[in-house]
Each structure stands twice: as C-alpha cells, then as structure tokens.
Amino acid sequence: MIKDITLGQYFPGNSPIHRLDPRSKLVLVFALLIIIFLCQNFFSLLLVSAFSLFCVLLSRIPLKTMLKGLKTIVFVILLTSILQIFYNHDGKLLWQWKSIQITTGGISMAIFITVRIICLIFISSLLTYTTSPTLLTDGIERLLKPLKKIHIEPHTLAMMMTIALRFIPTLIEEVDHIISAQKARGADLESGNLIKRAKALIPILIPLFVNSFRRAYDLAYAMECRCYRGGDGRTRMRVMKLSAVDYLAYVICALLLAGVIVLNIFFEAVI
C-alpha cells in the first residue's frame, strides 16, 4: 500500500530546468530566494513573480501540482495576511469597528506578502520537483567540498543522506510486514484513545529498531567488502560539467537581480 511513495516528489522530465547542473540549481535557487526578499515594491515583485511563473512553465511541471504544493502552507499565508490587514494602519482608512481598522496599506501589504510567499514556495519546490534525490545529494556533496578545510566531511554527510533515502522505502515495507504480523497475533492497533494507540505502536517499533540495527550491520559489512573507506581517494562515475544552459541561467538571474535593484530605486518602497 505505502510502497509506491515518490521520494522528494521528483518528476522526471527533460526540460531546460531539469537539465541544469544540480550544483547550479542549488546556487541559483539560493540566489533567487534572496532576490525575492530584496523586492521592495510591487513593480519589482511583479518582475520576480513573472520570472517564477516563467520558470514553472519552462519546467513543464503542471501548474496544478505546483498549487497542490501550496496547500500545506495555506494556513501560514492566511495567518500572515490577516495579521497584516489588522495590524498595518498605513494609508487610507477603509473600514472601522471599535479598535479594529482596515486600511489600504494593510491590504496591499497582505497581497505583497502573499505573493512573496507563493514565489518562495514555487522556486524552492521547483528544485526538488526537477532534481532527482541522487543528483541533489551529489550536488550538495560537491558544493560543500570547501567545508573539508574546517574538518566537516561533506562526503560523509552525502553518504548518510543517500543511505537514508535508499532505506526509507525498505523500512516502510518492513513496517507493513510487522503490522501484518502483529495483527495476525491479535494486536489491536486501531481502537482506543490516543494513549492506548501510542502504546500499541511499541510492538511495531521494537522489531523495527532491532531489524534496523541488523540491517546497518549487514550494510556496513557489504560496504567494506566493496572496499569502501570513506571519501578519500574515491572517484565518481558521474562527471558534473557546467553546460551552456547553466551559464545562460546564471546570466538570466544576474539580469533579474539588476532589474529588481533598478525597480527598487525608481519606485517607492512599500515594505
């Protein structure tokens, strides 16, 4: 039943966004998040949101999927907008009831922040939607290489991430088996109050832990058998090379940054 989960919500494809080097994507997403925060008025925000939408269209990820991703943070968006509407008292007064005031400033701030959050979500989810977990960890490992100088091993971190990703489906399958096995022995997992149900989880967690330790032991043995000895002297099959698409993406983002700065200077800031 839970076997068919997709990890990291990756949607395979061959769009220019998919083809970007994962390192470029990580760097550019980080840069874009900063650019989004740099916007100070509606004109620069409009430019940035148009760009975000352009990226989504370019990636050929259905807009529906992107909007679904927003579902989880609808509450955050609503809360921040409501707070803005009620606590921002700039501009013309539109409506008043006792001490509660709604002003044009409040409404425009609410819209501004909502659009900004949506842009942030779109850009950051594009990263996981268009990059496979393997490429992503690989990219992170290579990007963090300079950390080696301060004795943090990016290879170890990446290896842990890979193993975690690799074993999530295996462990889910195992939980399925354990639940069936315990049910067959008469375990009652579905009735009772919260505490009772939490207690019912113990006979599932203990076998899972015991088995995980055995798996870890086996895996370590298998890795040693295959001559694993950490990141030193290790090569990689995949060669990462920046292509024309990457350079183009860097140029476009630089232009976007320039555009945002110019619009910020020429128009009055609202935030």
Partner: protein, 287 residues
C-alpha cells in the same frame, strides 16, 4: 579449471569473542584446510552454524584466523596493508539483497565498488554498463532498487561485485530469500560468469540441487570440512550427509524411494536428467 590456487586456507581456526571480556566462545572453525582453485565452481554445503559464513569472512580479510593462515592469490590476509587488494580480488554477495545495495539508483549502486577503488569516471561507466549487461539488468539501470524483485536485486548485487573486476566471487546463500524463479535467475547468472568469464565461484548453500551443478562440493560440519570432491563422490556418502543434518538431491531421493519398492535404477543419480536417462534405461531393460 586448472591447478592454480586462488584461495588457500591452511589449518585455520577461528572463534568469535565471547560475552565475557577476553574469553573466546566455542570455536566456529577448527583446523580447517581448503584449497580453492582458480576458475572452479565450488559449492560449500553445511547446516546453519557450521561455520560457512565465517569461512567467507576469512577469505576476504574481514577476519583473521586465530591460528593458521589464509592466502588469497598468494597474499596473506593477516597483512593489513593488503586488506583492500584482497577485497579487490574476492567479492562477496550476501543473503539479503536489501541489505547490500547502497545507492538509490541501480547503476549508481553498481558503480559504488569501482568508485571506492578510485577508477576513472569513463572507465567506471564502461564497467557498470558491462556488468549490468552480463547479469541481464541493463534495461533496469535507471530503476530504484526497492522496486525490483528479489532475484533482480541479487543480480544487481552480483553486478556490483563484477564491476570491481574481482577474480573470485563468494556467494553466501544468495538464493535463500528468493522465490523459485529468482533462484533460477541468480543460479543461471553465476554459472554464466563462471563459464564465460572464468571467474572463480564459491557458492555457499543449503540447497542440495544447487550443489549438484558445481565442479566440486565441500561439506562442512562443526567448523571442519567433512567431505570434499565432485558432486558424485560427495553425494555417494549418504550416511555422512544425513548425520550432519543434510540431505541428498531430490532426484537421488526419488531413486532411493523407488529402490525401497524394488525398482533399482542403474547408475548414480543426482540430477533430473540423470534420473530420466536411468529410468529410460531401466524401462528398456524390463522390455
């Protein structure tokens, strides 16, 4: 098969650390000697706890014998400097396919070994493609391991060893957790590797029918080699096999049962083919 020795085990004894500090538990290997020849297909039979898996650990320098010596292609496993050179020669495939696949994509996992050895990227690519074709998993190179069947996972694990270009593969009950079809796939693959690439194969198993197809069979019990020889020689010692909790191949069993009913088939019978030939000969004789 030639007479060049790939792995030489000389009077090896081994005991795991006991529960109390400094105290060893009951030895698992007792004064065991065994020569494994280059290019041969050796099956090792033995019930659980007979020391089969420990033998594997001695052969790829994961453990050193308490007494005695183990040489892999002339290299002493006690020499720590040679540890990785030895593991480059002797690959191990374990029982549970899930616990030996490291990466999230099939081809990445096959590349894991050569990557550890520091092989050039283009050469890794070539080895990975080659290894996946050898085990018939090339079409699955982009798949996620958890979506494969047990037999397919085990073949990926074998490809992972092949890509390291080892000269010897030890398979520790590789089919124990597989369904009959998966078993067939894996057995076919390892026989092909042995025949076509000349790779030395050591198959640890408790399926008699798998052992029958080997060049030589070694029977282990209580840390010692009980019997060693061609399948026909070994399976002729029925009492010894039964005493150590083992069995004889199904076809041989069937012939035995027939003999109890007075139908004595001629010749020694190990495989279904033997049985068929013998049975036909018997029928001819009756006419």
């Amino acid at each position: 098969m030639n007479n060049e020795i790939m792995i030489q085990i000389q009077n090896a004894s081994y005991a795991y650390d006991g529960d109390d500090e400094g105290v060893k538990s009951e030895p698992v290997l007792r004064n065991l000697s065994l020569d494994i020849y280059r290019g041969e297909f050796l099956a090792i039979l033995g019930h659980n706890g007979s020391g089969k898996s420990t033998l594997t650990r001695l052969c790829n320098a994961m453990a050193q014998p308490d007494s005695g010596k183990v040489f892999v292609d002339g290299m002493d496993t006690a020499n720590e400097a040679l540890e990785y050179a030895i593991r480059e020669k002797v690959g191990v495939v374990m029982q549970n396919p899930d616990n030996q696949i490291v990466a999230t994509i099939v081809e990445e996992d096959v590349a894991f070994g050569p990557e550890n050895l520091g092989v050039e990227p283009s050469e890794i690519r070539r080895r990975v493609d080659d290894a996946l074709r050898r085990v018939g998993m090339y079409e699955y190179r982009g798949h996620e391991p958890h979506k494969l069947s047990g037999g397919q996972k085990q073949r990926v694990a074998i490809a992972g060893i092949l890509a390291m270009q080892t000269e010897c593969i030890i398979l520790d009950e590789p089919t124990a957790m597989l369904d009959p079809q998966g078993r067939q796939e894996v057995l076919k693959t390892i026989h092909e590797l042995n025949r076509d690439m000349g790779i030395t194969v050591v198959l640890i198993t408790h399926f008699m029918d798998e052992a029958v197809q080997a060049d030589r069979v070694a029977v282990m019990d209580e840390g010692k080699i009980l019997l060693l020889g061609t399948p026909r020689e070994v399976f002729a010692h029925r009492e010894v096999l039964f005493d150590s909790g083992l069995d004889i191949p199904q076809s041989a069993k069937l012939a035995d049962r027939l003999a109890q009913f007075g139908i004595c088939l001629p010749g020694s019978i190990l495989t279904p083919e033997d049985f068929l030939a013998s049975f036909c000969a018997y029928r001819e004789g009756k006419k």
